[in-house]
């Protein structure tokens, strides 16, 4: 067992070309660099540190990360930060009197037709977006990794079924499937057990994850198919490691890169899909706030002075997804230096 670990660590740290599953090219240079550092007796740079360093060098991604963290913090603490309520009940005359104010210092995003502060409403809606984005990413990654790992390592019928299903799914428009799923007010699994409808956060997570896990499964399967033929897997098998152990200890750590990148991008995609479904009236319903139903509620103001009611929720959504995509891109470059942009 210690042999395996030794071998893996040596491969990771020296980064000798071809031996490590991760990368050639740039990695090779850094491998040489590391070897030189080793010779000097300098501290060894781990793979994680190298990735981190490359990520930090990606200016746009770092800026996106900072912006996203600020926005997230604001969304989490909006109840503390904002003096207004997102859904004031009752609507007092003072609140109603404040209606239809364009953006001012008091109300950064203005107020809606009932005098409610849009800034507060947007960030409360963003809470849901972020919950759903993270939820979908976690579910899709877990499910996708499990299926992809089994299919890629054991091949056999799991692999056949997975590939057939994903082939078939390519034939139907994805958003259409989500629309049909989300339109069911009382979803159940063949009458065996019920699950929450898409009008609630957990239901929405389930609906979006239904198709979300498949690309992940395909990616992991592909990685596993090539990794399982590598010498270090043979070595582990010869040392008596069982299938599950090889999957968890040897193959998965080498697949972490693509998984993280996929998970990040999935957050952005899920946030967009949730907003889209809610905009169509198939997702989160008012008075529960989502960025999608905020825009749908204000759709009639298009072309009028009240159009800021559309602009700000959408802009926030756009900014968040843009940040997530930039971070995903930065991570991809950092983890897999071969992918030249």
């Amino acid at each position: 067992m210690s042999d395996e670990r030794d071998a893996r660590q040596r491969i990771r740290e020296s980064g000798t070309a071809g031996a490590a599953a991760v990368g050639s090219g740039v990695l090779l240079d850094e491998g040489v660099e590391t070897a030189a550092a080793l010779a000097r007796g300098a501290p060894i740079r781990s793979q994680t540190r190298l990735i981190l360093r490359r990520f930090v060098a990606h200016r746009v991604a770092v800026a996106a990360l900072i912006v996203l963290m600020l926005i997230t913090a604001l969304a989490i603490f909006i109840n503390v930060v904002s003096p207004y309520e997102s859904n004031p009940i009752p609507l007092t005359p003072e609140i109603l009197g404040d209606a239809r104010h364009g953006p001012t210092g008091d109300h950064l995003f203005g107020t809606d037709r009932l005098g409610r502060d849009m800034f507060t409403r947007v960030f409360v809606g963003l809470q849901k977006s972020l919950q759903i984005g993270l939820g979908v990413a976690v579910v899709s990654v877990l499910l996708g990794v499990a299926v992809g790992a089994l299919a890629g390592y054991y091949r056999g019928w799991i692999d056949t079924i997975l590939m057939r299903i994903t082939d078939l799914v390519l034939v139907v428009p994805a958003l259409a499937v989500l629309v049909i799923l989300a339109a069911n007010p009382e979803p159940s699994f063949f009458g065996l057990f019920d699950f929450p409808p898409a009008t609630e956060v957990p239901g929405m997570i389930i609906v979006i994850s239904v198709l979300g896990w498949m690309p992940m499964a395909r990616i992991v399967r592909g990685e596993f198919l090539s990794l399982r033929e590598k010498e270090f897997v043979d070595a582990a098998r010869a040392a008596g490691a069982t299938g599950p152990r090889i999957i968890v200890r040897h193959l998965l750590p080498n697949t972490v890169g693509p998984i993280i990148v996929f998970g990040t991008l999935e957050v952005g995609l899920a946030i967009l899909l949730e907003a889209t479904l809610s905009f169509l009236g198939l997702g989160i319903q008012l008075p529960q706030i989502s960025l999608g139903n905020l825009v749908a509620e204000a759709e009639g103001t298009v072309g009028t002075d009240l159009a800021y009611l559309i602009i700000f929720p959408g802009l926030t959504l756009f900014l968040v997804v843009l940040c997530v995509n930039f971070i995903g891109d930065g991570l991809r470059d950092a983890i897999d230096p071969r992918s030249v942009r």
Binding site: V172, A176, F279, L282, G303, I311
Partner: protein, 322 residues
């Protein structure tokens, strides 16, 4: 070549059949329940639902329902919409025509822009313009379509009209309110095509960039330069020609997807296409429409898939051999 095409056509029949099973189970088991939405305003909900279930044959087992439905479907009897009593085949035909126009113009505009932008970026990678186009592509892919659509209506229809002080907007935000003619047609399609193109160009231009970049690094390009061909000839005749293969495949696939994928654009611009038909039917639990809808869009995607393969074979004869 003909044999190749024929083989591919035959191979896609079982795919379509399997997809029909999948779609049937998806809509019947996981989609909206037609009996529920039909009885929303009924006083005796349970009685009403039971009656609706019997009338629609929903109490039979799924395989029975599937066989009955497919039997009628294959014979050309697509049934009637539960909500409007209109023939489903007719509705889908009309919607398909609406959607095709939008998809056609959107793809046409996007192809030209994407190839131009992608090739330019590949010629001068990491230049200022390339950086700008990269930013543009990221923005395009991160943009919520519904929001961008409403913004174009706000700025390019309403605000622009105010700015110019005209009595009617230059670009319409709804289909053809006034009448025929190519000018009216263009005024009505400009905004939806713009919204659609931004997304398509964002994806395709990146694709073309990397494909062309790969191509320009090939040995034969160096050979062409070495034998003294003009730079223009090397890049546009050799490089561009060979870089188009992968892009054509992606375009064909995305094109096919548009017939069932213009859900938001059609909704925002109030166009009665396939997307609007889907959302309407889903919200009202009109499964009579949903299942044929899915089958038709699925068949279109398969056809475009096939087209992609054939085109790739034409552009790159090496593929046909294998």
């Amino acid at each position: 070549m003909l044999k190749y095409v024929l083989r591919r056509v035959l191979a896609s029949i079982p795919v379509l059949l399997l997809a029909s099973v999948l779609v049937f189970v998806l809509v019947r088991e996981f989609g909206p329940d037609p009996a529920v939405s039909r009885c929303q305003n009924s006083r005796q909900i349970l009685v009403c639902r039971e009656r609706a279930r019997v009338a629609l044959g929903l109490n039979d087992s799924l395989p029975e329902q599937y066989v009955r439905f497919m039997g009628d479907f294959v014979q050309g009897d697509w049934g009637q919409s539960q909500r409007t009593d209109q023939a489903v085949a007719e509705r889908i035909e009309n919607s398909l025509w609406e959607t095709s126009q939008l998809a056609f113009w959107g793809v046409l505009v996007s192809v030209v822009l994407a190839v131009a932008i992608g090739s330019y970026s590949a010629r001068k990678p990491y230049s200022k313009a390339d950086g700008m186009f990269t930013g543009f592509a990221f923005a395009g892919l991160s943009m919520p379509t519904f929001w961008f659509g409403l913004l174009t209506i706000h700025y390019l229809a309403a605000e622009l009209q105010q700015l110019l002080g005209t009595t009617e907007p230059i670009f319409y935000s709804i289909p053809n309110p006034i009448g025929g003619g190519p000018v009216e047609y263009a005024r009505e399609l400009t905004l939806p095509v713009l919204v659609l193109s931004v997304q398509l160009v964002a994806g395709w231009s990146r694709y073309q960039r990397s494909s062309m970049l790969d191509e320009l690094h090939n040995d034969y390009i160096r050979t062409a330069r070495a034998k003294g061909l003009s730079e223009r000839r090397v890049v546009w005749k050799h490089g561009l020609r060979n870089s188009l293969g992968p892009l054509v495949t992606v375009i064909a696939l995305d094109f096919g997807g548009l017939f069932g994928g213009l859900i938001i654009t059609e909704r925002v611009f109030s166009r009665d296409g396939m997307g609007s038909l889907l959302v309407d039917s889903a919200i009202h639990g009109d499964t009579q429409v949903l299942i044929p809808w899915m089958l038709v869009t699925g068949a279109i995607i398969i056809v475009f898939n096939l087209l992609a393969d054939v085109l790739y074979g034409v552009l790159d004869p090496r593929i046909r051999v294998s």
